[in-house]
Symmetry: C2
Subunit: 433 residues, 2 copies
């Protein structure tokens, strides 16, 4: 039996909630946009980009309402800065949409194909997922980025931003929908989830059969809630407790550069390093230099006893690490640090504490590089490179809907192909078994 | 922060449940077997096959306990037949294990690879998922099949069979574990989930962070329960409300052959057809023949009014269809049948009622074949071929852990690659951003 037959759009009636109704409309729109060829989708995206620029003033005006509210609520200037839109930022967002239009269309790609022994032609091709739900916080540019990536991959999108950006998101989605409709496509391919309460998120998480995947983007507590409560399949994103391990044999200059870049180039993002592990054989040579470099970068070191033993002459701010430090994603100018007995001890520490995002090894030993990449089980293992490279843009994917830290469906930076599923086409001449 | 850090094996203590403890041991074993090269894994599988044959008598004896209990409980002979093991069946199971050993190892396959503009080498490689949980019913051969596929793909497996096969599964897992241990690998790579109550299933479903994926295999209600309640990611399998659509232009002989093969070659499996849709222009020519052929095959037809209009002279058993018939997976000698106005009406019917498994079109029209394959959104779309081909063995995958009817991670028959995740290896020479 069809255990997950969704309520049909025809069953639309008063006892259906606004969220369910929205999801039903998305499902109907998804069926219309899934078969569209690339040219049509690109045209829509270019129309969206033009419309964003043309209606810049309207968007800025709506954004000002959110900004004023945030300011009244005593929100920090950092967060207000992320929330704020001006004509220049809107031009940048429009430019990102044009970049998405320029990316290849993942839909229709033949992933696997062969002629079976009985003469049947078998093709596995990429198809859109259907309806993609994104639950996200603060930054209104995510609204446009996510919609553009979903449209390009033939998916309808349900956007559930934070209430602090509600006016901005409403204006942006209005512009998007008008552009989609202007190109002759169903506006319901892009929708804001109605309601600002937790209940609307909860309903979205229970809309199995209507929504094909939920992607939560934001803080750890948001992601945990969605993972725990959703019956819709979830792609977990973004928590990054990343490690830099300096092996017994390592180029010390390189190790310092990679450590500082991994930690301090942009500490607020998920691919920045949070823990430094140092092989005991190189600790005396490396740690004094590393601690000074961290001090220069303004980083506080949460160090175990063995690291602290090398901190004497250093100008670094060093505090004693507690067990909690090993699992903390600081997202700030802080780093945990420990000396380990061996590469295997480093691997064991990482396996115990990592969120599975990115771990780097700095080593001149081919054997060590090989063992570390084999044993570490995270989305990305970097050898003699900064953890900061785990990024859709850096990987050449052109754009990214998030970084999956789970093992199912997608792992690591997710580009357009990760927004697709596949189906098999079996072609015969009357073949039977 | 690491929101899903699993309890460490070191934290093992009396207040941890037997299921959690089992999962922790599986996790530790998974880390040991993940990096094993193919030769070692194949050697284990061949040892397993030999041991199954050598200890055949012991397995048959344990199985007799289950069979006697089933007979006392008044279980049907069909189910008892599925449950029963004899030396010949055990030889067949051992032979399947040798076939799995002969398959290529998915682990280590480079899925994507390039040198980035900055000189970094990027490789996306297949890695084991980690710990795979399988929840299944009746047939004890699944115990061995699933364990063999998981071992070959470098995963540890947690097996939760039905209580009706508990003695058989205990004996089989005993043989498997001894063979694994005899090859110098951790026996805990293969474990039966302790306990026969619903609670042990519930605990397994909440073991997020310890278990990487749950694959329920069995009836619709089991699958629905797992999908609804699990916080561990789930791959939904197997419900098949499959359709055969006969287009306005079709070879009538071919259409009859495909219909009868799809429905009656083996009605109890998920890729058998459950609904026939016929274009109105061909109904008068096709239906009388089709109904007679269905009658010859012993199939009862649950027909709409327009089909019944053609049933007058037929020897078929025809009953009036209710709406429930459109969503029923009979798994028996029954089929629902309707006349549709057009190909698009057939697609609409399918989209409304299908479980998304397999749909076939019989047509001589290239345009119709193209439109049907584009618009139908199921794991497999067959053109002029039986629905019965949706199968890992038929697709040339060599073995199958199930047929996914969801869109995330795997869709359609799942072979060894579907039991893997990927990780990215980033290799530089001191690259920083």
């Amino acid at each position: 039996m069809a255990s997950h037959t969704p309520p049909s759009p025809a069953a639309d009636s008063d006892d259906i909630s606004p969220v369910t109704r929205t999801a039903q409309r998305a499902r109907a729109a998804a069926a219309e946009i899934a078969p569209l060829p690339r040219a049509v989708k690109d045209e829509v995206l270019l129309a969206v980009a033009d419309a964003l620029e043309a209606r810049s003033a309207e968007i800025v005006e709506a954004n000002a309402v959110d900004v004023a509210k945030a300011r009244e609520a005593g929100t920090s200037e950092t967060v207000i800065d992320r929330l704020t839109l001006d004509p220049e930022r809107i031009r940048a967002i429009a430019s990102d949409v044009r970049d998405v239009a320029a990316l290849p269309d993942p839909v229709g790609e033949v992933v696997r194909g062969s002629t079976l022994p009985n003469g049947i032609d078998l093709r596995q091709i990429r198809v859109p997922l259907g309806v993609v739900g994104i639950i996200y916080e603060a930054r209104p540019n995510v609204t446009v980025d996510a919609a553009a990536l979903c449209l390009k991959s033939g998916n309808a999108v349900l956007l559930r931003g934070s209430s602090s950006a509600y006016a901005s998101n409403t204006a942006l989605v209005g512009v998007l929908r008008d552009a989609v409709e202007g190109a002759g496509l169903p506006a319901d391919a892009v929708q804001l989830v109605p309601g600002q309460s937790r209940d609307s998120v909860r309903e979205l998480m229970r809309a199995r059969g209507l929504v094909d995947v939920l992607i939560p983007r934001g803080g750890a507590s948001l992601i945990r809630t969605v993972v725990e409560e959703s019956t819709v399949p979830v792609i977990e994103t973004g928590t990054g407790n990343c490690h830099v391990y300096v092996d017994a044999q390592a180029d010390l200059d390189m190790a310092v550069d990679i450590l500082i870049n991994s930690k301090a180039q942009r500490p607020s993002v998920c691919n920045s390093a949070e823990t430094l592990l140092v092989h005991q054989d190189i600790a005396a040579a490396f740690l004094p230099r590393a601690l000074d470099a961290l001090a220069d970068a303004g980083v506080t070191v949460h160090a175990d006893e063995r690291v602290r033993a090398h901190a004497g002459a250093s100008k670094a701010t060093v505090v004693a690490a507690t067990e909690e430090d090993w699992e903390t994603e600081y997202l700030s100018y802080d780093i945990a640090a420990a000396v380990v007995d061996s590469l295997d001890a480093a691997v064991a520490h990482i396996r115990r504490w990592t969120s599975g995002h990115t771990e780097a090894i700095v080593t001149t030993s081919q054997a060590a590089a090989r063992r570390f990449t084999q044993l570490v089980d995270s989305t990305t293992v970097a050898v003699n490179a900064s953890t900061r490279f785990t990024d859709g843009g850096q990987f050449g994917f052109g754009a990214e809907i998030g970084i999956s830290t789970q093992k199912l469906h997608a792992r690591g930076p997710m580009g357009l192909p990760e927004l697709t599923s596949t189906k098999y086409i079996v072609t015969g001449d009357g073949h039977i078994r």
